[in-house]
Amino acid sequence: MKRTLIPLLLGLLVLAACGPRQPATLTVMTHDSFAASEEVIRAFEQENNVKVTFLASGDTGTALNKAILSKDAPLADVFYGVDNTFLSRALEAGIFEPYESPLLKDIPQEFQLDPESRALPVDYGDVCINYDKAYFAQHNLPLPQSLEDLTRPEYRGLLVVENPATSSPGLAFLLATIARFGDPGYLDFWRALRENGVVVVNDWETAYYTNFSGSSGKGPQPMVVSYGSSPPAEVIFAEQPLEEAPTASLVGPGMCFRQIEFVGVLKGTKHRDLARKFVDFMLSVRFQEDMPLQMFVFPVNPNAKLPEAFVQYAQIPEQPARLDPVLIAANREKWIQAWTETVLR
């Protein structure tokens, strides 16, 4: 009796994998942070007589790994969520096919990092240092105006950052320092930061909820590497209505690193037309206006209006740090290794 269990289960597995046929199913592979309003996705489904299935595949790196490993028999038709730090790895691996979406003409050139339009920009967000407003007010402490300021004695032990080897905001902040100080100058800056008692943890959740004093975790450090959209999130998800965000971002020139996320049609898709329609849909105003409150990112389509909380509480840095994705892909491992030796050992 028990020996029949395995073939039975295998059979079920195959059945479950094939599934019913009507209507066509479009599969979208994303990272875990993907979110959207139900009605927005339903509207797309109805207009195109399609069922959209999402596969959440781990964090950004994990999801991309999975897409690359399965590229000969792709699991999905569309992949969303590769960012500018991973972009050239995705393009080198050749997982996307080019698609010149008509909506690209609306989108500012600064976001279009792939001239062949295999990866199309969808959203951006700035990794910035968030600070606990009350702490700075109470201690009459002026805000740091630049990255260099962080090494000054009055900010000793006040900053918590994420390990760039395990966290994507951690890597983004490291890249901001490389953009500012160059290679190997950034290592001197980090040496000074280390001497000034910078706290390093492995992931954003710990940094924000356990170490940061401005969050509801009430930790010991009043400055944390997080996102420019975190202050509006603090208001929207406040336990009791707040008049003012308890936190804000330091958006001085070169202090934030801009992350841009991309979508692309996966090579080998069996639903090319639908996949392209979905890409168009993600760039359209409808989806772009839904994104901020779902994923706490900013739309790349300038016609999309920002929600009230974003207008009021989010700061967009005028001069974010930038680095060429090709340079990032080529040096990521080397930079992280050197950082680890300098800051952790």
Binding site: M1, K2, R3, L5, I6, L9, L10, L13, V14, A16, A17, T27, D32, A35, A36, S37, E38, E39, F54, L55, A56, S57, G61, T62, L64, N65, L69, S70, A73, L75, D132, A134, Q138, A165, T166, L171, V201, N202, D203, E205, T206, T210, S213, S215, S216, K218, G219, P220, A233, E234, F237, A238, E239, Q240, E244, P246, F296, R332, I336, L344
Partner: protein, 563 residues
């Protein structure tokens, strides 16, 4: 189970036949995917690079060091607790037992938050000490230290030691100890020469399991240990998923796997050839209330240990799920709490009409369904395998080691292997209980096997001589022992499944999230409400597990009434 059991002196053929389903399962869902990804990613050139071995060596050294230390400490805490649960009656015993099982399935993020609320820089221990002693800085350093890693490992794995040992202790023949005492041995001598040697199979099984769990530890190292510590599994994750250096990740996985193989063989080598039969007395025969005051002192000490090491870190979660930081966060200073049920109410609202919103009951239902499927599957595969492994022989030894392997494999690597072998089928929700079974199976087998091996063959023979049919002999002799051990095994399978965070292993379908996945979703966004909801969801998960474990414990009664 309707077939008569194969004869005891059956050859190796019968052994292989009984273990066949489990072996097939492991081949398809473990060996195949792992071999596939390793063959794809391994790169010989890596072996020649000088710095490769430095990195592998550093990770391996720390992994073994922390695992050995953690295992030792877990045994030190777990053995007296097992003794307490096996030998003494005390108020709230069943509840304490269920409570010990909870850590095993708590997501690491939540455990880290719980320990931090208690022992962190701004945890209440440090805040209290700072106030009393008038200190400016927190006196206790916990987060980011080796101590934090060790404490968390004890917290997670003590239940393994207690369950495996207490079960064996309950069923030891009290006459052996009594005889030793009559012959003049004091308590220490009885423990050294009688009790511990009799416990050896269970003790070895517990040690091996705890060591493997500590050896492949991931979340605890990442979140509580912090960035200065890296085990093999953490290094595999960093190399494979963040640096996209799959060859190095594969090499590290091979090293980790080889260590597991070595350990498994070591384990079966040390397993005593002659197993002393358990007594077929009901557990109650060995249990009494503490009478002498030495015993009472022991009970009190153990209760303090339970409260400090398990109850307090756990209690901080439900506490935080109903406590709100008083508004005006603008004013810093003393943290004040107010009571609220907002977080629970909020769980039932889909405020942003999100596509992936899942009502808490649906997440609980998903978790429960996966857990039930895991229990059924791992018991169905594990029981015949354990019966086969309870015998001796070369085939058995090899299989024995094979069944331990899933515990030592890198989940990160295996997940990628699944993808390459099963391709589109990997998106099926069916794969979740299958993956959970991979982890539950070694636990199930390790729990059943020592119990089965200790069934005295004389009893079976006696019942046959007295005219019982093979079926009846099995039903009256083996079944009651099997039943009790099965309950312990089912509890493991259940908690493993409830707590497993499948996203690392599989391509999760966001519309069927489990409770742990729902918890992570809340924690990945800023805002007090998200934090509170994560705590509320964890409290629900804790309630579910302890409820499930209590329910399974209830089933203990029927089998034992026959003796």
């Amino acid at each position: 189970m309707a077939n008569p059991p194969p004869k005891r002196r059956a050859g190796e053929g019968a052994v292989s036949l009984l273990a066949l389903p489990a072996t097939l399962f492991l081949t398809v869902f473990f060996v195949l995917p792992l071999a596939r990804i390793l063959l794809y990613a391994l790169d010989g050139r890596l072996l020649l690079q000088a710095d490769t071995w430095g990195r592998v060596g550093r990770a391996l050294g720390f992994t073994v060091y922390q695992a050995a230390l953690s295992t030792l400490l877990t045994l030190v805490v777990g053995m007296p607790l097992a003794f307490l649960f096996a030998r003494y009656k005390f108020p709230g015993k069943t509840l304490w037992r269920a409570l010990l099982a909870i850590p095993f399935m708590l997501p690491t993020v939540v455990v880290a938050a719980g320990f931090n609320a208690f022992l962190g820089d701004r945890g209440w221990l440090n805040l209290t000490l700072m106030r009393w002693l008038g200190l400016g800085a927190p006196p206790v350093r916990f987060t980011g230290t080796l101590v934090a890693i060790l404490v968390a490992h004890i917290f997670y794995n003590t239940t393994l030691v207690v369950r495996l040992l207490a079960h064996a202790l309950e069923h030891l023949d009290p006459h052996l100890e009594q005889a030793a005492r009559v012959l003049g041995a004091d308590g220490g001598k009885v423990l050294r020469h009688i009790t511990l040697p009799l416990l050896r199979p269970s003790l070895l099984a517990a040690t091996a399991l705890v060591f493997l769990f500590d050896f492949t530890s991931f979340g605890v190292i990442l979140l509580l240990g912090g960035p200065t510590f890296a085990t093999l599994e953490v290094e595999i994750y960093i190399q494979g998923m963040h640096l996209l250096n799959l060859p190095l990740a594969a090499l590290l996985s091979v090293v980790q796997l080889l260590c597991t193989v070595a350990l498994s063989f070591l384990y079966s080598r040390f397993l005593p050839r002659i197993v002393t039969p358990f007594s077929l007395r009901p557990a109650e025969a060995n249990i009494r209330s503490p009478r002498r005051w030495g015993e009472k002192l022991f009970l009190a000490a153990m209760l303090v240990l339970l409260v400090a090491l398990f109850l307090v870190p756990m209690a901080s979660v439900p506490f935080r799920s109903v406590a709100r930081l008083e508004a005006a966060r603008g004013e810093r200073g003393e943290v004040r709490y107010g009571l609220t049920i907002d977080y629970y109410q909020e769980l039932f609202l889909n405020r942003r009409s999100s596509l992936f919103y899942v009502p808490p009951l649906a997440a609980a239902r998903n978790s429960l369904l996966y857990a039930l499927a895991t229990v059924l599957l791992s018991m169905a595969l594990g029981t015949p395998a354990a019966i086969a492994l309870a015998r001796r022989g070369q085939v058995v030894r090899t299989l024995d080691a094979l069944f331990m392997l899933p515990l030592g494999a890198s989940a990160v690597t295996l997940g990628l292997g699944f993808l390459m072998v099963f391709r589109r089928a990997v998106t099926s929700p069916w794969l979740v209980p299958l993956a959970h079974t991979l982890i539950a199976l070694p636990l199930v087998i390790r729990t059943l096997q020592p119990a089965l091996a200790s069934i005295p063959p004389r009893l079976r023979e006696a019942s046959r001589v007295l005219g019982a049919s093979p079926w009846r002999a099995w039903w009256t002799v083996e079944w009651p022992i099997l039943w009790r051990a099965s309950l312990a095994a089912a509890t493991f399978a259940f908690t493993v499944s409830l707590g497993e965070f499948g996203a690392t292993l599989l391509l999760a379908r966001p519309e069927y999230p489990t409770l742990p996945i729902a918890i992570y979703r809340f924690l990945s966004q800023p805002g007090g409400l998200n934090y509170g909801q994560a705590m509320a969801m964890t409290t629900i998960l804790m309630a579910f597990t302890s409820g499930g474990v209590l329910l399974i414990e209830r089933l203990r009664l029927p089998g034992s009434s026959q003796f």
